[in-house]
């Protein structure tokens, strides 16, 4: 465990006398290993260790009776503070339509997540409309239509039209149907595919979303920081949803994405069914990452 690792590292150091800032940095090597093993991006790890070292020195861990326990606590608390605060709510528009744009890399779980969101939003007494704005993937529209049918949420779909136009018309359809929330499911795309990034930027321009959420796979490695940063720079992200947390990935991507995108992780996907969407818990995620 991390605490055992830090304990061993510090015990070796203390054999030779009192703790110093340099010694604490040696203890931090255990933390570095744990975080890298958990797939936290190496630059994010560097920044995190610097912050924690300052805190540990500042909290006079040097004088403490059980420095290794105190270091683990500082690391855990700082991780929770960085990944929080918890914000598992949709920030609805004060009046009229609320538009939610869902974006991310290929296969991250966007379409499934849109259906999960629709189910949750309806259970809050609202009337969501799902919009099939992925005009690229074979049978993407069929997929969302089937999901919508299974949770009895209407789906706006148009075949052979461009994504921005579909989304623009969807807003009108929502008003006609007296829906008050519009969820835009977009195609998976690479942050380095300029044409596709232009497409989602154009969708955002015409649909003017109140929420723009990045859907990211919890098993993503170092690249989580790279892609999240690119999406955050090109779109005005307001939140992140982390999927496939029902697996055994440590989920370091959570810290990477939170640090570089600068927006809260709102919900997590914990399965393939429409009910498998849960609020994000910073403390639970911290424990999972630290192993």
């Amino acid at each position: 465990t991390l605490s055992a690792g830090i304990s061993r590292a510090l015990d070796r150091i203390r054999m030779r006398g009192k703790l110093t800032r340099e010694n604490i940095e040696q203890g931090m090597r255990e933390v570095k290993s744990a975080l890298l093993e958990a797939d936290v991006n190496f630059r994010v790890v560097k920044d995190f260790l610097a912050r924690v070292t300052e805190k540990a020195v500042g909290e006079e861990v040097i004088k403490s009776v059980d420095p290794s326990q105190q270091i683990v606590k500082v690391v855990h608390d700082e991780l929770v503070a960085l990944m929080g605060p918890a914000d598992p709510v949709v920030h609805y528009a004060p009046s009229g339509l609320t538009v939610i744009l869902v974006a991310g890399l290929q296969g991250s779980g966007k379409t499934t997540t849109c259906a999960k969101l629709a189910r949750r939003i309806r259970s809050e007494g609202r009337f969501p409309l799902l919009v099939a704005a992925d005009v690229h993937r074979p049978a993407a529209i069929d997929q969302l239509e089937k999901l919508g049918a299974s949770i009895e949420v209407p789906v706006h779909a148009e075949r052979n039209e461009a994504a921005p136009d579909i989304c623009k018309r969807a807003l009108e359809v929502a008003r006609r149907k007296s829906c008050d929330v519009v969820i835009l499911d977009t195609a998976g795309r690479l942050h380095i595919d300029e044409q596709m990034m232009q497409e989602v930027i154009r969708v955002a321009e015409v649909a003017k979303p109140h929420e723009t959420w990045l859907v990211a796979d919890a098993m993503t490695g170092q690249d989580a920081a790279v892609s999240a940063k690119a999406f955050a720079e090109r779109l005005r992200l307001t939140g992140v949803i982390l999927t496939k947390l029902d697996g055994d990935a440590r989920g370091g991507a959570a810290l990477s994405v939170r640090s570089v995108a600068g927006v809260p992780i709102k919900f997590v996907g914990v399965g393939e069914r429409a009910e498998n969407l849960e609020p994000f818990h910073p403390e639970r995620m911290a424990g999972r990452i630290l192993g």
Partner: protein, 278 residues
């Protein structure tokens, strides 16, 4: 002869960071960086500029020697089973493989054995139409093993050369789903001698160290003969394949380089190593 010269910490650190950023993993990255430092100290590498070439060669050496040949049945039809976690790129990879085999002059049949996910069968059906190959499907919620049974029968009856079986995404930690996959494997093996001749685990190149757990559990659950590293056209380098070869002995056979049916290429260790530093 000057006895040993140290590589400066900044250069060694940068080298390790390139490897870390490529998802090679902390342990292997540190080992490779140490090897580079030793090579520099012993003048095996003359100048710092040559370090990346040294590490690239080491990466190549850490991967299987020979080009991993695609498995083919000694006689009769070849069956390729495509497996992996949710969203990794299996269905698209099945389409790419179908195109590749068709271009090689073979009669191809696709089996849409994902009967669980919404519109999974529709998705593969679109691909079959675009490529011009036949497809065997089942009803929604049908037993995937039953679809595979039907596909195996059709393979024999229609004298198909290559049967490609697309399966539902599943997390390696879900035992009932891994058992379902093993049942699919048994069913096709009973119908067609030696089947499946190839079981490809499709891995998303953006995946971190969890890929090793995936490779282990899929290998334990159903046996894996090769990896397809999909989505390598992104910024992720897929360095986890080094750890997978090291610990699970599964070689990369193909890489996915895009979303069209031609975007599949045989794995090239040199290109892979170059891309890590690219």
């Amino acid at each position: 002869v000057s006895v040993g010269r140290r590589l400066d910490a900044a250069t060694a650190g940068e080298l390790e960071e390139v490897l870390l950023g490529a998802d090679i993993g902390a342990k292997l990255a540190s080992e490779l960086a140490s090897k580079a430092e030793a090579a520099y100290r012993q003048r095996e590498v003359k100048r710092p500029e040559e370090l990346s070439e040294f590490v690239r060669r080491e990466i190549q050496r850490m991967l299987p020697e020979r080009e991993c040949a695609e498995a083919r049945a000694a006689a009769g039809p070849t069956v390729i089973l495509v497996v992996g976690v949710n969203g990794s790129g299996k269905t698209t990879t099945c389409a790419k493989l179908a195109k590749r085999h068709k271009d090689a002059g073979r009669k191809v049949l696709l089996a849409a054995a994902d009967t669980f996910r919404a519109a999974a069968t529709e998705q593969l059906t679109v691909w079959a139409g675009r490529i011009g190959v036949d497809i065997v499907r089942g009803g929604e919620g049908a037993d995937p093993a039953a679809v595979v049974f039907d596909a195996a029968e059709a393979t024999v009856a229609r004298k198909v050369d290559t049967l490609i079986v697309d399966t539902a995404g599943r997390l390696h930690t879900k035992e009932n789903l891994m058992r379902e996959l093993e049942k699919i494997r048994r069913v096709v093996g009973r119908k067609i001698p030696g089947a499946p001749h190839e079981t490809l685990l499709v891995l998303d190149a953006t995946t971190g160290q969890n890929a090793i757990s995936q490779a282990k559990l899929f290998t334990e659950g159903v046996g894996v003969t090769g990896l397809v590293l999909a989505k390598l056209d992104g910024t992720a380098k897929g360095g986890v394949v080094l750890g997978i070869w090291n610990e699970v002995r599964v070689p990369v056979k193909f890489v996915g380089l895009g979303e069209r049916f031609d975007d599949l290429a045989p794995f090239d260790a040199r290109e892979f190593a170059d891309a890590v530093f690219g």
